[in-house]
Symmetry: C2
Subunit: 406 residues, 2 copies
């Protein structure tokens, strides 16, 4: 049998990104049964690591067995019942995903929007909370489609004092910056695997507080076949079984009530990825991301490219550059991938064909890779006929940056 | 940082079971981007392998990024809309899971039941189809909670001629026996990862035919943010986004419409696990399972244990034995695990504490492991005070079986 052959890549997209070999090694360990006491111990340790990663005391901090979208849907499908009002601010594609998830859950969506490339002042959001008085605010922290960072440090408190539940999509920012869930008083936050944490996609750490837990447990329904008789059925039960957070609470608590078969290797990956991230330190990790993002951004400007959006509200784990005139988005990216094994991303909707998104995420973000990327990317742009590029200026800017700052 | 230390195990449960090291090695390959042409090629090859594994020509043969339960929910949530009648025959716990999934989708469940340990004659099911005239029949093929194999070879045809959709949970039987999806005229079938295929839990291969596809696409809703304007919204759209098969069709077709971020390492595992299974040959693999199951069953009888249920309808990938009187289910299994690293399973509901389920699944099923299991298990039973065990008779029965048959 031919073994799978995977060619070398330098992935500079907003995910999925390269995995630390130590994570891959952990994943190659043999399987443990899902109720094996040693596996249960690893599950409990993983919960503790998730708490640390979110800077929270939330008891309910565990992963969803699915990609980030599964984590988002688990939270929305559990908190939003038909007819509930939900405020979803939109600054890019992933606000539309929240809108979609709320709609599918039967919720009534109230959108406020900004032009692509902008973010909300938090007071604008708070004003909308007062105007609409929703049950839930669902908001994207790092909007990778436009590279924007939506400030949210005041939002949790504002929601709490109004009796509104705050739900935050932190998929792209998780472990690439500090997200102090308790200090910011956020009710439910969804992290990501294949972005700054840089483990394989397929598992999604989430956290939520007791207030949120009490609310979703009003809809609790233990499944047939394993429930005892005292549970009362309710009409507004959660419509998903797989993504029902109340059932997952029973699975991730000492009850260990049978639900899905936890993905052993994904837990090994998450455990190890979080151990590595916390050993580095979230603040150090945040600095590593912003440090290399700043250096590469300076170099790309020196090259002659234009950065998309206001730098005052940019995510530090992605660089959005305008595609130079005359360059075909898809053809260029395919050429870069085929010739160099280097991958960058386009964008969605009205930004498609207009900007490239260069991911600065996780394990691969270190000097050698950034210099290699800049050199190959800039020369290949020149080769493709883009005029007026300052090739030497770009590389000297980056080299000097690395020599003079840290 | 302390690396994860996983101790040795011989897992003899109905899953999750040991993984072939060649699968683990494949999973340790580096990440490819989800739209990288080399990854897309692997995705397409994986679809072809899934088709072969189900003996089907179904175009729509792809994995769900979640555990088996996610695959079951994706199929049920996509085909069952509120008010739809669904027939669910129950012979054990996993029939209740189907019942639960249908209820959550808003369907009206019609159950027919057999005592635990029995299966239906197919004519009884067909009679119920005629009586109830449901939209969907959802049926479990291998009911691991009782170790029963429900015959289904006539069911698909009976459904088709009546305009009913057949949905089959083949999680436990997939790649442990031959399931000719096209010959049996089944509309949608869900396989399993962590059982006879013996790759890590977390990804679930499914297949469905054009008739099924046409039906679910009546409910199609392309998500906000990436849909063009011509799509009409409908009130009865699928309530899940993550488990919406119509969106997954767009992701797994040349459109490659963005949805979730496919789990790279899970695809490496599935691709490699299927390559290995098909290289062995599904018939050879089925024989390997039934061959070792038969030998171990003979030995356990010789030991003096009683087999649960009628052997004429047993699954060949599990042995259900009655727990000897005076033995504490949980304490014995924990002792076997702690002292030998050997894991067997209890059961659910009314069978809990009454039977053990010994899994005969996948990679670990070969002579050395079966002999090791029998020896440790039988001696530990004797050590726990069970009288009248024929220890030498048991092992000689198994050794002779291996010497005289193949």
């Amino acid at each position: 049998m031919d073994a799978l052959k995977i060619n070398k890549r330098l992935i500079m997209t907003p995910g999925p990104v390269s995995v630390d070999p130590r994570v891959s090694q952990a994943m190659s360990n043999s399987i443990l049964g899902q109720f094996d006491y040693e596996f249960v111990d690893i599950m409990n340790q993983t919960m503790a690591l998730i708490r640390q990663s979110f800077l929270t005391q939330n008891k309910w901090s565990f992963p969803i067995d699915g990609t980030s979208r599964a984590g988002l849907e688990a939270v929305i499908a559990s908190i939003v019942k038909p007819g509930d009002d939900v405020l979803v601010p939109i600054i890019g594609r992933f606000g539309y995903l929240f809108t979609e998830l709320v709609t599918r859950a039967g919720g009534i969506v109230h959108n406020i929007k900004k032009p692509m490339g902008e973010v909300f002042d938090q007071d604008e959001i708070i004003e909308a909370l007062d105007r609409i008085n929703p049950k839930v605010l669902a908001i994207v922290h790092g909007e990778t489609s436009t590279g924007r960072l939506q400030p949210i440090d005041k939002i949790g408190h504002a929601c709490k004092t109004r009796g509104i539940f705050s739900v935050v999509d932190a998929v792209a920012t998780y472990q690439g910056m500090v997200i102090p869930v308790d200090d910011w008083e956020l009710d439910a936050v969804i992290g990501g695997a294949q972005k700054c944490l840089s483990i394989p996609s397929g598992i999604t750490p989430i956290t939520f507080n007791d207030r949120f837990s009490e609310e979703i447990n009003r809809r609790k329904r233990v499944e047939l076949g394993i429930r005892s008789n005292e549970i009362t059925e309710q009409d507004d039960f959660i419509r998903s079984n797989y993504l029902d957070l109340t059932q997952l609470q029973d699975y991730w608590s000492p009850k260990r009530l049978n639900h899905h078969t936890e993905s052993t290797t994904s837990i090994y990956a998450l455990y190890t990825g979080l151990k590595l991230a916390l050993a580095e330190g979230i603040e150090n990790r945040a600095h590593r991301h912003s440090y290399h993002q700043e250096g590469l951004k300076l170099a790309l400007k020196a090259l002659g490219l234009e950065i998309f959006g206001d730098e005052s509200n940019e995510m530090k784990m992605v660089i959005c550059v305008k595609i130079p005139q005359g360059v075909d988005d898809n053809a260029f990216r395919l050429g870069l991938l085929k010739n160099y094994g280097i991958e960058i991303a386009g964008s969605f909707g009205e930004l498609q064909g207009k900007i490239w998104r260069i991911g600065i995420m996780g394990y691969a973000i270190e000097k050698q890779n950034i210099l290699t990327f800049l050199s190959a990317f800039s020369i290949y742009l020149a080769y493709q006929g883009v005029d007026n590029l300052n090739l030497e200026q770009a590389v000297s800017t980056l080299l000097k940056y690395y020599e003079t700052s840290e």
